[in-house]
Symmetry: C2
Subunit: 351 residues, 2 copies
DNA sequence: ATTAAAATTGACAACGTTGTCAAACATATT
DNA sequence: AATATGTTTGACAACGTTGTCAATTTTAAT
């Protein structure tokens, strides 16, 4: 097309600076072995001509794409957080970050990733749950020998580097916190069971319950989805029990938002009548419901670290740590009260 | 590194099939002028060797990256929708889609985009508001001659293709709809004024008001941000007026969600005491608040169309239409009632 | 002053593909 | 049968960069 202006190449810079192409290449790539004086002259020629290196040519000879990929499943608050963090990271370094959805066991999805890898369009990839639950994908990645980092993997990774957080401990501590306030009936809004994190959080809850000699009652465990309607329905269900819980612990903050909405609708005050706690990733949540005490899930740090780790691997360096687990911490915002102070409520007339 | 397996090249395929590299190239690219018999033989050789073309080499000779870029500003429901649509589109065609944030007037942001363009890492880009409000960027794109499509541009684009929606008409119709129900005091939760869409929606509202001889009252126009807290605050403000509106029209559904939350908190029933309408993009909203009547903003179609349009431009075809404006339509969900049926409320004791 | 070592520079090939153009072959037309 | 037309094929040169390795210059060591 009429792209008129033909690109300036390294050859023309070399001619203007009166040196070889290789020397220009050395200057561009900050390699040693160029005398300061000549380097200066080359730099001048570069600015004068407005030279910009052609990445395709570099890719061809170096067999590198300078693109890394992050695989996500569908959309949601988890994914949004990952994406916005990843987009911020896009400013750093020389790598472009390609965001790609991956639906386990969906053939077009598989073909797409296979093509990305085999065509050498990406140098490495980060997988997020539940993408890593697809053995086909894992196998494909392993066979290709491409750099790979897991985020919160479902299964043991067999030596592949991963980044995760202390889900068990976080859930344990929050549950214990509720127990210390005197709660005995604690409803748990459980996420999908094909996430390692969900399972670990459940185990943490159970462990805390049992440590404090409270018998585990399945009635208070609701398998909801990690989203608003999931939490909404689950909370209504829990509050409709003959002996409703005095506290609800939602394993995602979207579910917590749904639960809060349901409680509002039922005219049940938080924390006056029921305490509410959440396990959360989103940062803006405090704008929405200022009061929810939460186990902070360090998702942004996880994404950041996993991308850094991946780039280290891509560049052939030996990362110091290959398995990184970030701590979680509880943020107190006052949605938890002792049940003895809570005002009782009745739910007749509502389902 | 130990990437062992050296890639299969077109040369080896040619040798196995007993033909020239060029013929293999023709087969791979579905070009004509290859006899069926030979084509078959080449195809067999390709599968036998597991040949996959090297994109870098193709990029180099064709001076094309097969990557297109979409620029977004920050995050939010608009951006989430765009991203998830774009990720779905990633399955189609031969192009990879690079999502990039762009903060107008932020120098690192500018450098990044300039590098992407000059290094020929992208073949074209789609801009979303308010990215296109940065004259530097527009100038950069124009000078580079790279393919470009606007989404909902703030300014006239001077011939550059764009895709948008009938914001004016949508707002006009919804406002008229409210007026036909008998509303005279209609609160408007206005978005940021550096979006073309926000302005057009405001104009549509005003036009409808004036057409029906209602005098425009600035009291009922609240400059809120297009998000949950913005809508929350704005709604509380409106309902605190001496003569509160009988209907609220939120120009984004996040603001509408915030407004609804505020109304719930104030124990004001929707639509019993106040009608609520929204201008919206998100599709899942009906799960959250089944009842909000909404002007559907066809964002997914817009994104889809703009990417298709961009690819047409990149490939040098002449698109039939270069300015595309999608219609909006009203979805009735029952959050609107005539004010004469509305139960009055009082707000003392609350701010 | 001489030699050894190190730093600097450049010529040239390679990377894997596609574009160009001419050669070889097949078919249709006179 | 001879010519014109069209279809199929391949040789070879790009594309713009970096890696290799040898040539040259400079510096250090004797």
């Amino acid at each position: 097309m009429m792209r008129g202006k033909l690109a300036v190449t390294i050859k023309e810079v070399a001619r203007l600076a009166g040196c070889s192409m290789k020397t220009v290449s050395r200057v561009v790539n900050d390699e040693p072995h160029v005398k300061p004086e000549l380097r200066e002259r080359v730099l001048d020629a570069i600015t004068e001509l407005g030279y910009v290196p052609n990445i395709s040519a570099r890719q061809l000879v170096q067999k590198k794409s300078y693109v890394i990929c992050i695989l996500l499943h569908s959309s949601g608050s988890f994914q949004s957080t990952v994406i916005s963090k990843v987009l911020d990271l896009g400013y750093e370094g020389n790598y472009e970050i390609l965001v790609q959805t991956y639906y386990p066991s969906f053939s077009r999805s598989r073909d797409k990733i296979a093509a990305l890898i085999q065509q050498k369009r990406i140098d490495g990839l980060v997988t997020t749950p539940p993408c890593d639950s697809d053995p086909f994908l894992i196998d494909l990645i392993k066979k290709s020998g491409i750099a790979h980092v897991h985020i919160a993997p479902l299964q043991p990774t067999g030596g592949t580097p991963y980044v995760s957080a202390e889900d068990f401990t976080g859930a344990y501590q929050m549950t214990e916190h509720l127990i210390h306030h005197g709660h005995r009936r604690i409803g748990l809004l459980m996420g999908l069971r094909n996430h390692r994190s969900s399972l670990d959080r459940l185990f943490g809850y159970k462990a805390a319950i049992e440590t404090h000699s409270i018998s585990f009652d399945v009635k208070y465990l609701v398998d909801s989805e990690n989203n608003f309607p999931g939490g909404y329905n689950a909370a209504r269900m829990l509050m409709g029990l003959p002996e409703p819980p005095t506290a609800i612990f939602a394993l995602s903050d979207e579910a917590a938002a749904g639960a809060l909405y349901a409680l509002n609708e039922l005219k049940i005050d938080v924390p006056g009548q029921v305490s509410l706690a959440a396990f959360g990733d989103i940062t803006h949540s405090n704008e929405i419901w200022p009061g929810i005490s939460v186990v902070k899930y360090p998702l942004e740090q996880i994404v950041d670290k996993s991308v850094c780790l991946l780039i280290e691997l891509v560049e052939g360096r030996q990362p110091k740590e290959r398995q990184i687990i970030f701590p979680t911490r509880i943020i107190h915002r006052g949605s938890i009260l002792s049940p003895r102070n809570q005002i009782p409520f009745n739910t007749e007339g509502k389902t």
